[in-house]
């Protein structure tokens, strides 16, 4: 349980948001050319990091916009919040 600083609405309770998991997983440019292994990698395989992780969040009970977040999953501390098109901050 923590507060999230939505880049559009400001600081709100985490329960207003839904997590979209790991960020910056690029959708394949040519899906028809993908092998089964590559599909599995894209759809299912995750780093599931214990520590600083880049992830997507959606302000589901607010502006409903998607954005990115850098969060330490070992203590739930949020290091940065940035909009979808923005470049991820360097560590």
């Amino acid at each position: 349980m923590f507060l999230i600083n939505c880049p559009y609405c400001g600081e709100r309770d985490q329960s207003e948001f839904s997590s979209g998991g790991e960020a910056h997983i690029v959708r394949p440019k040519q899906p028809t050319k993908l092998s089964d292994d590559q599909w599995a990698e894209y759809l299912f395989m995750r780093k599931n990091i214990k520590g600083v992780q880049f992830e997507r969040w959606n302000h589901a009970h607010g502006c409903r916009k998607w954005f990115n977040m850098v969060r330490d999953t070992s203590n739930d501390k949020i290091h940065a919040v940035y909009k979808m098109a923005e470049k991820p901050p360097v560590k």
Binding site: D36, F44, M45, K47, N48, E55, T73, N75
Partner: protein, 417 residues
């Protein structure tokens, strides 16, 4: 077993004021090399070691545990055991475990307090009714006991449930598996540890894995806080931290680790003699032998390794508990905690070889691994010893995420555990 527990040993030790009981297991320093190493000293890991030694004669093996045995999810779950899963593969897996549970106290010479008090799953809407009825039929086809109860029968089986049609999620019926129930979770870890240790397995506590040494396509050993240990076979049973181990050797697993919470109340006299679960409102309840109500919640919906979880999840669960059991409105809660569960996209586990020779993973049990402990250990031991899966865990290989042959229990049956 060197020191058999019995009524006679109890009487004998009473004369020396119970001060001369042997240690249940040794506390050895790691050897330089083992035939196999199990990473993770929870129920599943200890059971794996036990069956490797007992059924496959692999006694030169070790279990390494970063904390103390049974101190992770084995000691954090709500101890529910059942096997009423929808799909054939799951039914085979979980009922295999349930059959071992039924004789486990005798097999281990250790009272694991297995209590077949029944597990009832409630239906709160028309779709629940259809799904649960379908599940009872599927269960019966797989030889698993299951009955459908209407609202009146639910009430007579567990009289404290509020079956008034006026509540937000009225009880429209439920399923009952009478062979299901609970067991003492710590005793399961201790019983398996004692059994494995007596056959020569080294159980090494406070020994955290820091890295896995790999030579090309095979493993060579593990780096730990107690030094390097050589081995050709590594079985990883690290529950919520499976991905942490996988990242050490640069393989990805289809897992997300999330906090799952539970809480217990102050102890009271016997009031509920079964286990009642509800997928729709996501609350489950039973009463421990000490008299505490044991209440389980859902997971937090984001990745976290914090072992605490959010307040709103607990609040939602307790709201559901209070509506279903108004009698508990004045109960005080004593403890609340979270465990980190590793969830697969299809809510089914992975008991599998990997593309690296000698590296095996047993993970992805998500929110319901405790019930499978003996079966999981037995099948994982088979997989490690033979370098081949048993037919009961063949469907739970890691390649199902490539082939698409998923065992989808999320939508089917096993939302709540």
């Amino acid at each position: 077993m060197k020191n058999k527990y019995s009524i006679f040993s109890l009487i004998k030790n009473a004369f020396s004021y119970h001060e001369n009981w042997q240690r249940a297991w040794r506390d050895p320093e790691p050897k330089k090399e083992y035939d196999a190493i199990i990473v993770g000293g929870g129920g599943h890991g200890l059971a794996t070691a036990f069956y490797l030694a007992k059924k496959h004669n692999m006694t030169n093996i070790a279990v390494v545990e970063k904390g103390w045995i049974g101190g992770g999810n084995t000691g954090r779950n709500t101890t529910i055991i059942r096997s009423n899963y929808l799909w054939d593969a799951s039914a085979g897996l979980y009922d295999h475990a349930l059959k071992i549970w039924e004789g486990l106290s005798q097999e281990l010479n250790y009272n694991i307090m297995f209590s077949q008090r029944g597990v009832m799953n409630l239906a709160h809407n028309l779709q629940d009714v259809r799904d649960l009825k379908r599940r009872t039929h599927a269960n019966r086809l797989n030889g698993i006991d299951a009955v459908w109860l209407n609202t009146k029968e639910v009430k007579s089986f567990c009289p404290i449930i509020n079956t008034s049609p006026g509540i937000r999620y009225p009880v429209l019926g439920g399923t009952l598996q009478r062979r299901a129930g609970t067991a003492r979770h710590d005793a399961v870890a201790w019983g398996y540890a004692r059994g494995a240790d007596s056959m020569g397995v080294d159980i090494i506590q406070n020994c955290e894995v820091k890295g896995i040494k790999r030579n090309g396509d095979s493993v060579e050993g593990i780096e730990t806080t107690k030094g390097f240990i050589k081995t050709k076979k590594i079985g990883v049973v690290a529950a919520g931290h499976s991905s942490v181990i996988a990242n050490m050797i640069d393989i990805k697993l289809p897992l997300e680790s999330k906090p799952l919470q539970a809480l217990v109340s102050e102890p009271v006299k016997p009031i509920i003699d079964t286990v009642v679960m509800s997928n729709a409102v996501h609350a489950y309840i039973s009463q421990s032998d000490k008299g505490e109500l044991v209440i389980g919640a859902g997971t937090d919906a984001y990745i976290s390794y914090t072992q605490r979880g959010s307040h709103d999840v607990i609040e939602g669960t307790l709201k559901a508990i209070l509506e279903l059991y108004p009698i508990f409105s004045r109960m005080k809660m004593l403890r609340q905690w979270g465990g980190i569960v590793d969830i697969c996209p299809d809510a089914s586990p992975i008991i599998s070889k990997t593309h690296i020779k000698g590296l095996y993973f047993n993970c992805g049990w998500g929110t319901g691994g405790f019930k499978a402990t003996p079966g999981s250990g037995d099948l994982f031991a088979h997989t490690i010893a033979n370098d081949e899966p048993h037919k009961l865990n063949a469907a739970f290989n890691i390649n199902r995420f490539v082939s698409g042959d998923l065992v989808d229990e999320h939508g089917a049956a096993a939302v709540a555990h």
